[in-house]
Amino acid sequence: MPITAEFEYVKPKDMDEALHVFSLYREKARALAGGTDLIVHLKENLARPEVVVDIKALEELSGLALKGGVLRIGARVTFSELIGSARVKAKFPLLWEASLTVASTGVRNRATLAGNICSAVPSADSAPALAVYDAEVLTLSVKGARRIPIGEWFTGPKKTALLPEEIVTAVELKLPEKKHGACYMKLSRYEGEDLAQGGIAALALADNTYRVAFCALGPVPARCPRTEAALNGNKLGEKVLAKAKAALLEELSPIGDIRSSKEYRLHMAQIMLGRALESAVARLFKKGSKYGTENIC
């Protein structure tokens, strides 16, 4: 399918030039990194930019670095780079596990984490992990830099807090201070590549505190504070889990669509919460399954 829209293509070599284009064109400029969403949108005429700004030559946007308990993921970093990083696997295993569930190798070789959260579909696989690791999104424009907590980033389906003149430069994750085990449970119709019908991320810390987040089970991916409150301070057991599941149901508002009904999503979300928590706790004590091997479909 050819792209029928007409637009200019620029590939700035330095950040000032890129920011200038965005300040000039605003909504009419679209950033291109992996293009795995943007090109589809261009083909379907869902995106009608006047200029496509290829950001892959901007050195400032590259690199994965862990410093002082903060992992900085440049906006150009692809899911394949995240999966290939031994440091991400060792220190942020939940992000590593979630990255493995994104589409397929041929897409992950191009698709970026920053692009995933800029597309901001409710089923964004990276989002629950980012929520659980208290991520912040770093943006830049000619007016200056901003840091946006991931909880304030998604403002609606396919909508974010990014301003028209801004670009995302990096995403930063905080390493939990204590040891943790975690699990991303993605419900899909089959193994291999599929969008999530629902996704639950659970993280367990050694002091019996927990973090839970979801995707595709509400209009935007989000943390589940009430579910966490029901769990915190307790060892995982049947009674605690029942309370947590009840709290979770209050925090979810899934739609019914071509991939599954609302009722199915709500039913499976509870099962996924249980399995994700059990797996996270088992992994915390080194008794669990290897990261990247949990599947539910």
Binding site: F7, T36, I39, G106
Partner: protein, 155 residues
């Protein structure tokens, strides 16, 4: 639209041509450069039949602008002789009858090429994961996985 003059390496040969910003890499390969192994399938990144190697990595050529290829090294199945594993895979696919209509085969073989270049002793899970983005509607995948496994063993 301002057209761009781009240069890249295609199957080991230098190519330079003018492209429009909206030209999709897959269409340019097929319609301007006569490279027919990458196919137009879903045309939105789901099926994998348009797979090419860009700088050694599998990429959906239906999801790349041609202008992005400037300076890149592109290998398609036509350039199988430039990679260590590709022709071995082709022979084994043929031997094992690992395709029927053949529409998915170029993409599958390039995905397997990328896998074997990174990991020459893949598990069956690694193989399935590597080709998870290449849809085959004929074989049920079993002969494909077997062909890749046997390529590794050099049987």
């Amino acid at each position: 639209m301002k057209s761009h003059h781009i240069h890249f390496s295609l199957n080991g040969e230098k190519v330079s041509l003018h492209v429009e910003p909206s030209d999709v890499l897959l269409d340019v390969l097929r319609n301007k450069l006569g490279i027919k192994s990458p196919k137009v399938g879903c045309d939105r990144g789901d099926c994998g039949t348009c797979t090419v190697l860009i700088d050694g990595k599998t990429v959906r050529s239906c999801l790349a602008l041609a202008v992005e290829a400037d300076g890149a090294e592109i290998v398609t199945l036509e350039g199988a002789n430039t990679r260590k594993w590709t022709q071995k895979l082709q022979r084994k696919f043929h031997e094992k009858n690992a395709f029927q209509c053949g529409f998915c085969a170029p993409g599958v073989i390039l995905s397997a090429t990328e896998l074997l270049e990174k990991n020459s002793r893949p598990s069956s899970h690694d193989i399935k994961e590597a080709i998870a983005g290449n849809l085959c509607r004929c074989t049920g995948y079993e002969p494909i996985v077997a062909a890749i496994e046997e390529t590794v063993k050099g049987k």
